[in-house]
Amino acid sequence: MSATTRFEAALSAFDATLTRTRTADFSARLDEVVDPPAVGSPLPFEGVSLDGTDVVTEPTPAQLRDATTGVTAAAFAIAEYGTLAVRSTAGGDEPVSLYPERHVAVVRESDVLSDADAAFSRLADAFADGPESVVFATGVSGTGDMGEYVEGVHGPREVRVLLLEDR
């Protein structure tokens, strides 16, 4: 099973969908997975951008608070767990991936790593270049503290992955 297939299977366990796109079709596919209003942080991948879309970058605090969707890049993904690695960037990946109800993560297919071993190896390489700040986000926020399990607490209630097939 390819890493991507495995990733998609893991995502489906918490009702997250994976949408494949080529960079040329990015804006159209993005529209399909964004529920407006949306905020975003700049995407570091060649050939794709949030400029010219309805996704607001550098949002005001009010826009962040009121957004339904937050669009960020994921530095990499862990297929085994359906995990997205989101870095703390100056562009606001951390709050944008956290505050809105829906998180849309843009992932390069070449960054879909098979398992935890591969992910920690990648992480160790990143830390070797200097201290990193990154969150492994898997699924949607949840709690059992109110007597039964409920999804959607302080973090998102829905996750959508947009996979760049040609990157």
């Binding site: 005001t60 100056a90 920690f120 201290p131 699924g139 409920v150």
Partner: protein, 727 residues
């Protein structure tokens, strides 16, 4: 210390108040853990690796502190190493006051519970809001956590709804878990956006990069760390790991052990101050998240508060390896039925709490709950860093015993308590701890001893003086001991295929000789010549009472009794799993170095021996329901028994998925203070037995058999009796 009947009343009350909710939650988490660990390839190797990393990190702690100080400062933050709670709280108060902080939001942190940081912040004029929903519930209820991972686990949804409706008086009464969660999220969302200070704990701290690792499912730690401009992370010094290279096993183990998830929803690895833009919700319409919002400020408060002394303490040190996953609580039958409000000290709860409480708050904080650890060892298999939690409890119990005041009871027990223990500590412990002597006397005077002991006035006296609950059936001593029976009978094998020494534990010898006789016949049917070693108590009984030096004496005696067999290269068959377990697990702590290994290597359970000797003509086709003894299970008895019985043709179901300990646990179920809890725990086993009405009940150890005898209509068998060719 409270009296026995007060303690029984207190436990009864906690069982009624918290028991059902705690049991539902912990039993589910425990089942999930089994599944999650079973599906992890190389799980035990990962636990070993995690253990080694922690051992090294605690050994290197001073150096790791230097390294993290350098790294955090290079990142632009500050590190403060606090000697104790007051020191840590003072520092955080200063950070708050320097920023004129009026409000702080917190993510869940047991270390800040230990410090009582919230009170300190309130004293400094800061309003504190717990953002983990479980912590929020107990903050509103003004309660202490009932579980180190699920602090409000003792409260049902209905309880929480009533609490919130009374406290917040919402326009529409809250009812469902969904409504309660939405309400709390919105309420706390406002507090987080307004907060001047974010306080988190840390699950791990990476020294080389100054990274705080936070593991949560709700996302509250992320928000608390990133939304306010200033972040204070408070962590015990033991949370340090060298670098991200050492983190992987812990990320893979912590959620599996805690909740049965393969990974937690959010594993944040923050090396603050981070690049994330500051957020200013007071200035809602300025682009770029509030614009020029100033620098981020970060403080890492590393807390000693007794930990460096624990590090020097050979017995308590491994407490510092704990990653606070709660698996020892969830796998503990007693904890499942009472929760942390009974099975816990000032801050920590569950099996590991004795180590933490003794280390950070002092021995006296363990006094009320330490006895709730029965030493069953189910947590030993559950712990992701292989901590010997029962040993820590035993050592703490020993220290409590030694601290006890002398009292007048000693003269009553002279002769029955030939131990080296300090005079004056609880009589019940000394009587149970010297069970071997008591059993010898009871058997020698049987049946009179049984009649006298069972008579009403004697039961009242036993309850009053020794704390033996009068509702519990006493062991019936046999007039003819197993050893006497065998001395008369002798071996009936002339041309043996093999020879073994059977270790006659005191229970088999004086109370249940039938299982010893059955074992002899089973072994002989397999062509094995049996010798019986001199009777000796293994040390299990005193060890369970925290009488370590007495246990050492018994261990030396038992080792000497088995010396000829070991010298002759003879295997030793052990019928009582608690004794097999002490030979394999605790003797290396109780005997001089090197003496334990030879016995551990030569000792087999009956089942293991029959499996290994491979000559058995035994067979059966009965349908069996098998409950493994807890300590036996930890040393492999369950797997071995299931495999052998299956191989011999039996149709076997086991209680492994449904039941942890039976609740009897040696003397525990006899004690007045714990009788009702013991029976409550035993009902889980009885329910399981009732689910298999047409099967022969088989149990591993004397305690399990006693508990089943008391709670189930069918007569349970030891595995030797099941296999006995004469029945």
């Amino acid at each position: 210390m409270t009296g026995r009947s007060d303690r029984a009343e207190s436990i009864r009350h906690t069982m009624e108040e918290d028991g059902d909710a705690v049991h539902d939650h912990t039993a589910t988490l425990n089942r999930n853990r089994y599944e999650a660990m079973a599906s992890l390839d190389g799980g035990d190797a990962l636990r070993r690796r995690a253990r080694e990393i922690k051992e090294d990190a605690i050994a290197d702690l001073p150096e790791l502190i230097d390294r993290v100080e350098a790294a955090v400062e290079a990142n632009g933050g500050r590190v403060y190493v606090a000697d104790d709670a007051a020191d840590a709280n003072r520092y955080v108060q200063q950070v708050a006051s320097a920023r004129d902080a009026e409000t702080a939001v917190k993510s869940k942190s047991m270390t800040t519970e230990e410090l009582e940081l919230n009170d300190a912040l309130v004293d400094a004029g800061v309003d504190v809001y717990e953002t983990d929903l479980g912590e929020f519930v107990i903050q509103v209820a003004e309660e202490s956590p009932s579980h180190i991972v699920g602090p409000a686990m003792h409260r049902s949804r209905e309880d929480i709804a009533e609490l919130f409706n009374d406290y917040f008086d919402p326009e529409e009464p809250l009812e469902t878990a969904d409504e309660l969660t939405r309400f709390a999220r919105d309420y706390l969302g406002d507090k987080i956006r307004d907060a001047d200070l974010g306080v988190t704990g840390a699950n791990f701290v990476l020294a080389d990069s100054g990274t705080v690792v936070l593991v949560t499912n709700e996302g509250n730690a992320r928000k608390s760390a990133v939304t306010p401009d200033a972040h204070v992370a408070v962590a015990g010094v033991e949370k340090l790991l060298p670098s991200v290279e050492e983190l992987q096993p812990f990320v893979e183990l912590i959620a599996r052990s805690a909740t049965g998830q393969s990974i937690a929803q959010y594993v944040s690895m923050l090396s603050p101050p981070t690049d994330s833009p500051t957020l200013d919700f007071d200035d809602p319409n300025t682009p770029d998240f509030g614009g020029e919002g100033g620098d981020r400020e970060f403080h890492l408060v590393l807390v000693d508060n007794g930990r460096f002394e624990m590090r020097e303490d050979d017995q308590l040190r491994e407490t510092l390896y704990c990653i606070r996953c709660g698996a020892c609580s969830n796998s503990c039958a007693n904890f499942q039925h009472v929760g942390g409000h009974a099975f816990g000290g000032e801050t920590y709860s569950g099996g590991i709490a004795s180590g933490w409480e003794a280390g950070v708050h002092g021995l006296e904080s363990t006094e009320e709950f330490n006895d709730l650890c029965t030493g069953c060892t189910r947590c030993v298999d559950a712990c992701p860093v292989e901590i010997d939690v029962p040993w820590i409890n035993t050592v703490v119990r020993d220290r409590l015993n030694r601290g006890a005041d002398p009292d007048a009871f000693d003269s009553l027990v002279t002769g029955l308590t030939p131990d080296d223990e300090p005079s004056g500590f609880a009589l019940d412990k000394r009587v149970f701890g010297n069970f071997g002597t008591l059993a010898k006397w009871g058997s020698a005077t049987a049946p009179v001893s049984n009649w006298v002991a069972d008579a009403g006035p004697a039961r009242a006296l036993l309850e009053r003086a020794v704390g033996i609950d009068r509702r519990r059936d006493l062991p019936q001593f046999a007039r003819e001991t197993f050893a006497d029976w065998y001395a008369d009978r002798g071996s009936r094998i002339d041309d043996p295929d093999a020879a073994v020494t059977l270790y006659p534990d005191v229970y088999t010898n004086y109370v249940r000789p039938d299982r010893g006789k059955a074992a002899v016949r089973v072994l002989e049917a397999a062509g094995v010549r049996v010798d019986v070693s001199p009777v000796s108590e293994s040390g299990r009984a005193p060890l369970s009472q925290g009488m370590v030096s007495t246990a050492e004496d018994r261990a030396v005696e038992t080792r000497a009794a088995l010396e000829p067999a070991l010298d002759a290269g003879c295997d030793v068959v052990v019928l009582e799993p608690s004794d097999l377990s002490i030979f394999r697990r605790e003797y290396e702590r109780l005997l001089p170095e090197g003496d334990a290994a030879a016995l551990a290597d030569a000792a087999y359970s009956l089942v293991e021996y029959l499996t290994a000797c491979d000559t058995t003509p035994l067979a059966g086709d009965e349908r069996v329901a098998y409950h493994a003894h807890c300590q036996g299970r930890t040393v492999g008895e369950l797997d071995a028994s299931e495999a052998l019985l299956d191989c011999l043709g039996y149709d076997v179901v086991t209680s492994a998925e449904a039941v942890e300990c039976c609740g009897m646990a040696g003397s525990f179920g006899y004690k007045e203070a714990y009788y009702e809890l013991s029976v409550e725990v035993g009902e889980t086993l009885a329910d399981w037995a009732a689910d298999h009405p047409d099967r022969t009940l088989v149990a591993g150890g004397a305690s399990c058999l006693d508990q089943l005898d008391a709670l189930v209509d069918r007569t349970p068998l030891h595995v030797a009796e099941l296999l006995d060719p004469e029945t």
